[in-house]
Each structure stands twice: as structure tokens, then as C-alpha cells.
């Protein structure tokens, strides 16, 4: 069955430090991959998506993610974290053949001054 795993429930980084949030998926087919962010008291917002082509994708707010088929991973990165990045981050997957969009359990990011 399809699944998405975000191994880190909670991560704390210092402001200005780099960030990497992990996402692994389990699928038999080529997936479409997404990262969403949910800020406190706000709705979910799309950060970036991967459909095909260049495996390194750029998103909003300075985020990027790299698709690695061999590792079934789609990790989210940011070179320098800002205090406003504190939020819950969700990785999500849907197959090319269509069907439901499945979310990981989320990673809560805290940013310390």
C-alpha cells in the first residue's frame, strides 16, 4: 500500500542555520510529490511540487526539495531558516495513475533565536 513517512516528528534549529526535513515514500509507480506548510492558526499552503524533469525543485519562501528515486526520498531544504518558518511541514504523494493524495504525519519545526 502507498505510504509516506516523515521520520522526524519535531525539529528545532537556530535562526540562520540550514534545514533539512526528511520524507520517504513507498509506491510502485512514479509519484507526484508535494510539500505543504501549515502555520499556526492558518491553512495549508503549497511550498513546492515535483512532477518530472529536474529532480531539484525550487519553491516559495526560499525552500527547495530534491527527488531521489533510488532512495524513495523527497527531502525539503532551506539554507538559512527564519523565525517565521516555524510551522508544521507535510510531505504528500499521489501516483501518476491518479488517485488520492496521501500525507505524511508532519514535522513540526521550531526556530530558536
Amino acid at each position: 500500500a502507498q505510504s509516506v513517512t516523515q521520520p522526524d516528528i519535531h525539529i528545532t534549529v537556530s535562526e540562520g542555520a540550514s534545514l533539512e526535513l526528511r520524507c520517504n515514500y513507498s509506491y510502485g509507480a512514479t509519484p507526484y510529490l508535494f510539500w505543504y506548510v501549515q502555520s499556526p492558526g492558518q491553512g495549508l499552503q503549497l511550498l513546492l511540487k515535483y512532477f518530472s524533469g529536474d529532480t531539484l525543485v525550487q519553491g516559495i519562501k526560499g525552500f527547495e526539495a530534491e527527488f531521489k528515486r533510488s532512495q524513495s526520498s523527497f527531502n525539503l531544504r532551506k539554507p538559512s531558516v527564519h523565525w517565521s518558518d516555524a510551522a508544521e511541514y507535510f510531505c504528500a504523494v499521489v501516483t501518476l495513475q491518479g488517485g488520492k493524495l496521501i500525507f505524511g504525519q508532519g514535522t513540526e519545526l521550531s526556530v530558536k533565536p
Binding site: 507526484y32 508535494f34 505543504y36 491553512g43 495549508l44 503549497l46 511540487k49 512532477f51 507535510f90 499521489v94 501518476l96 491518479g98 488517485g99 488520492k100 493524495l101 496521501i102 500525507f103 505524511g104 504525519q105 508532519g106
Partner: protein
């Protein structure tokens, strides 16, 4: 243009009562999803509609849960004989088609007392 609209925004109900949650997707979006988010947890897939195809109901937790969608328009999620464990935020999302990024509503916060 208008985004995804959900009503009510908050609902408090007594255990055993039925509730109906409404979602108005973005006009022209063929795909519509319902998710449940319990406090501090991730997004749990409930049901997915795509055009005139049969909905994917694989995420509905019990037969107390049902959902309908009128064409490519409004959707309602019904929970019968509510239980305290049904307390959560119910999120609706729509997209132009399967595999397109989702646009989320602000959710309905359901509290079962």
C-alpha cells in the same frame, strides 16, 4: 477569485447527534478531498471525488461517515451518531484535476461533547 469555502467553521455537538459539514470547492475543480486532522496530528485521508468517477472511500473510518458530491460542485460530509473521538478539524481541498496542487479550505472544527 474565491477559494475553497467550508461551513460551519466551528461546530459543537452532543455525543450521538448527526452532523453535516459542507464544502464549496473552487469553480471548475474536478477533484475534491476530505481530510481529518486531530489535534497535533497529521492529515488523515477520508474520501476523494474525481469528476463523475466513483469516489474513493477507503479512508472513511466507519460506516457512520459518509460523503456526497453534487457533480463538480458542493460536497457534504455527514457523521452519524457522533462520538468524542470524532472531535477534530475536518479539511476540504479541491484541485483542477488529479495530481494538481490542492487548495485547502480553512476547515470545520468539530467538538463532540
Amino acid at each position: 477569485g474565491a477559494g475553497v469555502s467550508q461551513s460551519p467553521s466551528n461546530k459543537v455537538t452532543e455525543k450521538g447527534k448527526d452532523v453535516e459539514l459542507r464544502c464549496d470547492p473552487i469553480s471548475g475543480h474536478t477533484a475534491l478531498y476530505w481530510y481529518r486532522q486531530r489535534l497535533g496530528q497529521g492529515l488523515e485521508f477520508l474520501i476523494y471525488f474525481q469528476g463523475n468517477s466513483a469516489p474513493d472511500k477507503s479512508g472513511l473510518p466507519s460506516d457512520r461517515f459518509s460523503a456526497e458530491r453534487t457533480g463538480e460542485s458542493v460536497s457534504t460530509l455527514t457523521i452519524q451518531r457522533t462520538q468524542q473521538e470524532d472531535s477534530a478539524v475536518y479539511l476540504c481541498a479541491s484541485s483542477e484535476r488529479t495530481q494538481s496542487p490542492l487548495h485547502f479550505g480553512n476547515g470545520t472544527r468539530l467538538t463532540v461533547t
